[in-house]
Subunit: 391 residues, 2 copies
Amino acid sequence: MNVPGPLNPPVRLLLGPGPSDAHPRVLRAMATPLLGHLDPQFLEIMNAAQEMLRSAYQTKNQVTFPVSATGMAGMETCFVNLVEPGDRVVVCAAGFFGQRMVEVANRAGAQVTVLERPWGEVFDFQQIRETLQKVRPKLLAIVQAETSTGAWQPLEGLGALCHEFETLLLVDAVTALGCIPVALDAWQIDAVYSCSQKGLSCPPGLSPVSFSSRAVEVFSKRKTKVQSWYFDVNLVEHYWDSDRFYHHTGPITMVYALYEGLRLVLEEGLEARWARHRRNHEALKAGLKALGLTYTATEGHQLPQLNAVRVPPGCEDLPVRKRLLTEFGIEIGGGLGEFKGKAWRIGLMGYNSRPDVVLLFLGALEQCLTSQGVKVQAGAGVAAANRTYLG
Amino acid sequence: MNVPGPLNPPVRLLLGPGPSDAHPRVLRAMATPLLGHLDPQFLEIMNAAQEMLRSAYQTKNQVTFPVSATGMAGMETCFVNLVEPGDRVVVCAAGFFGQRMVEVANRAGAQVTVLERPWGEVFDFQQIRETLQKVRPKLLAIVQAETSTGAWQPLEGLGALCHEFETLLLVDAVTALGCIPVALDAWQIDAVYSCSQKGLSCPPGLSPVSFSSRAVEVFSKRKTKVQSWYFDVNLVEHYWDSDRFYHHTGPITMVYALYEGLRLVLEEGLEARWARHRRNHEALKAGLKALGLTYTATEGHQLPQLNAVRVPPGCEDLPVRKRLLTEFGIEIGGGLGEFKGKAWRIGLMGYNSRPDVVLLFLGALEQCLTSQGVKVQAGAGVAAANRTYLG
């Protein structure tokens, strides 16, 4: 065959639901020559990455490490380790990723009860309490930041509620970590998974997970083997703990990326990072409103890092996204599932949550909407954002 | 917590069983800013990478793509897709990775028959024929390049033999691809998995797999769902084929790496690359013999890319490897399983299969052996290698 030419991708600004742009320092870290996956120096890097991950997750959980695959693998890791065939599981589904948990739980052999809310809404604890009382599940699973709707599910108090019924709490924090608080210990979360390519501003390829001692006890006392060898935490953990037992070859460069991504998170400080996401979200939201757009998630439960808005009446989805991409190199997300063709998803995650990004995006969107015949007040988006920033 | 300092790993020469050093061009590719995982430009890069992967595997198989995780995930992908609970599987095990296939096949619900040979030997087809006749399995699994022993299992004709009994042939090519021939179509291999961090000179993190039309038919007609959602080829394939259906977020940077790694393979040419591995192996082998070392694999079945030799009598394993690492920054592998403490595994894989590497290593090993009181003729290793190179 003819050998293709060198890699020469166009420059993009990734403002979709993820991947978000990797931070330049992370990209530089990825060009670092390899260490062996059992090299004493690499083990030190692993230790430091784990310790930083515990800080980011606000936990003292011993079993905290990145699964060597993408976010969806973290979801599967949590289910296949905590569930044995026949176990009762409640999944709270108010969007695409809640629904996906149902599928993954089913494949792990769970008897799944699905608790539903309309897309864009969040669950209230009374509804959850009633279900826990009725079903008495081993595990309740819920999405903190539903990437398909932009809804922010409150979690404070949910762990305690689950524990009243001897139920484990599993949280999908894929779009949350590094953008909004994920307080594992304070909120008594038993299992969590996230990803590298959103709030941590690394490329996709790792799924940071963490398990409470309650969860560890559950999977250390399993009667059946975990169906997946690759995702068996009892095995993987021997590589990440002080045993350093060979399980699989760690994805060294991705661990370098995570190391640098977490350094950036902790240098900034968690509180400052959340405040930054909040501030840029407020400016973006003011601008989007000024352009006539409305959010799909309930007011008061909108994620700062993932702004999902309705495609305005009379406007087509694809031409706007295409013009954003070709004229400005800006990628935003289309709708998923129920929202396909009906929503845009605008991510301001990690490194990309910046005032310059907000102003550029609002200016570009105004041009794209106008070119599609949508009536918008010229300059209104940028003006509203600037008023918010100047406060 | 105190934020750890910047990444600053020591420089290593990775001559173990893998990871091997990433090629400098691959490292540079990894610092490339991200594209979205559904960006039209990224889809073109995926297409080109797939096409190059087919060339490297010498196949026209449509279903050829890298699993978004490390080599062991490729093993699991093959078993969980091809095996349904209760299916009969024969695993040929003459080393650590053969044994591991037994474990992974068991977790997929297979009824496993293990065909064994002493570590370091290879299987003859008569033995396999008898087992196929007796067991009539759905699948036979075998390791082409057994990383724990350095044995090179011949495969030509094995596919035809398996098909006589309507058995699928699954091959572990983790340590083979990019170093020695892996001729999927000519050898009628039905399923194969490999890795990125050995013969392809990329970092660990991807597992290239390929399935024959026979294998595709088997998993498209399954009666049960694949137990793993993440590794379900029927789902993943929709992302890699022209549908581009969202399954998980592709590990973009690792795909960049694979793209560049495969470009290097095809620029060199497969035949030239195999010849290079052979030539440097012969020089290394001459040098190792001159230093008094013997191979663990049967003569005539020794892998050029993974030279496993016995730790010489009276010599301790660890002090030699430690001195290689601290004095020279050279990593080699220790023994695995039965060979723990008794073997060294010296990899000359991909980019690292070079004359300068061979001479440096032999000189360094001579110093380390001498420092441990092993009697070696001064300069004998390098001299023997040079004689081989000069022919």
